[in-house]
Amino acid sequence: METAFTPIASFGGGLAIGLGSVLLMLGLGRIMGATGILSGLAFPENREEFAWRTALVVGMILAPGLIYAATGAMPELTVPVSPTMIVIGGVIVGLGASLGSGCTSGHGVCGLSRLSFRSLVAVPTFMVTAAITVFLIRHVFGV
């Protein structure tokens, strides 16, 4: 299915993603990496580490509701894949991001901004394998 090209909304949203990442560094001295934050919640080191991650995640989860309250519409969310693919993809995402120490937020936004050499390797790697995967699924297997 086609989706609308939204350069202005996407750029504006990107600015806010960046602002959130900068504020977390300025306030708490931490990288805004969703993989690290989630695994810190799943396997907490201590109460303080658990507390700020919980607050951060609660704030994130409140965002769609706030947008709904302000505009009367939930953000666009269309799932074009089957529940089986969500589960298989999710397990691979969890395994891979944990093994590779980061995902789109940690390596993509924060790592590239720090000019981390590891992130400069990680980001093109996952962008390319994602594109190959989508090509195979849609154009070779025709799912």
């Binding site: 202005i8 949203g13 602002l19 990442s21 989630l38 269309t78 993809g89 999710g90 691979i92």
Partner: protein, 142 residues
């Protein structure tokens, strides 16, 4: 106060994810579908986020410590090893299958859609799998 700040920070990040289109798997998968229904919007998300974070980080680091104390905890690892490359390659495969990534799925949970909860449970299963298969602890994010 620190927790209120963290919540506010999460809210801004989540609004960014929602407005940008990152939480819409149809849009994410189309970004990667260059040979099909290509939608290059998400390049603009990355552009906006990097612009603010690149300069914002450098301003933040002018402080000697973070506002709420402690120290700036910046990943120190520099080695490009099999785990980094293999893990990142796997992550991309999973992202291309499901269309969600963790940072988009957390705010997306707030839409109340069951598919998002299913994805996040699967991600947690993937974390557990990593701990079972590769016992050595991995340094957290990036």
């Amino acid at each position: 106060m620190k927790l209120v700040f963290a919540l506010f920070t999460g809210l801004i990040f989540g609004i960014g994810i929602a407005v940008s289109g990152m939480m819409d798997p149809a849009k994410v998968l189309n970004f990667f579908d260059i040979a099909g229904t290509w939608d290059p919007s998400l390049a603009f998300v990355m552009g906006g986020a990097l612009l603010v974070t690149f300069f914002g980080y450098r301003l933040a680091w002018r402080q000697t410590t973070p506002l709420f104390g402690g120290r700036f905890q910046i990943p120190s690892a520099t080695a490009v090893d099999k785990r980094l490359v293999g893990g990142s390659a796997l992550f991309g495969v999973g992202w291309g299958i499901a269309g969600f990534c963790p940072g988009a799925a957390i705010p997306a949970l707030g839409t109340g859609r069951w598919e998002v909860a299913l994805f996040l449970v699967a991600v947690l299963a993937g974390f557990v799998l990593r701990r079972l298969l590769f016992a050595r602890p991995v340094k957290s994010a990036a």
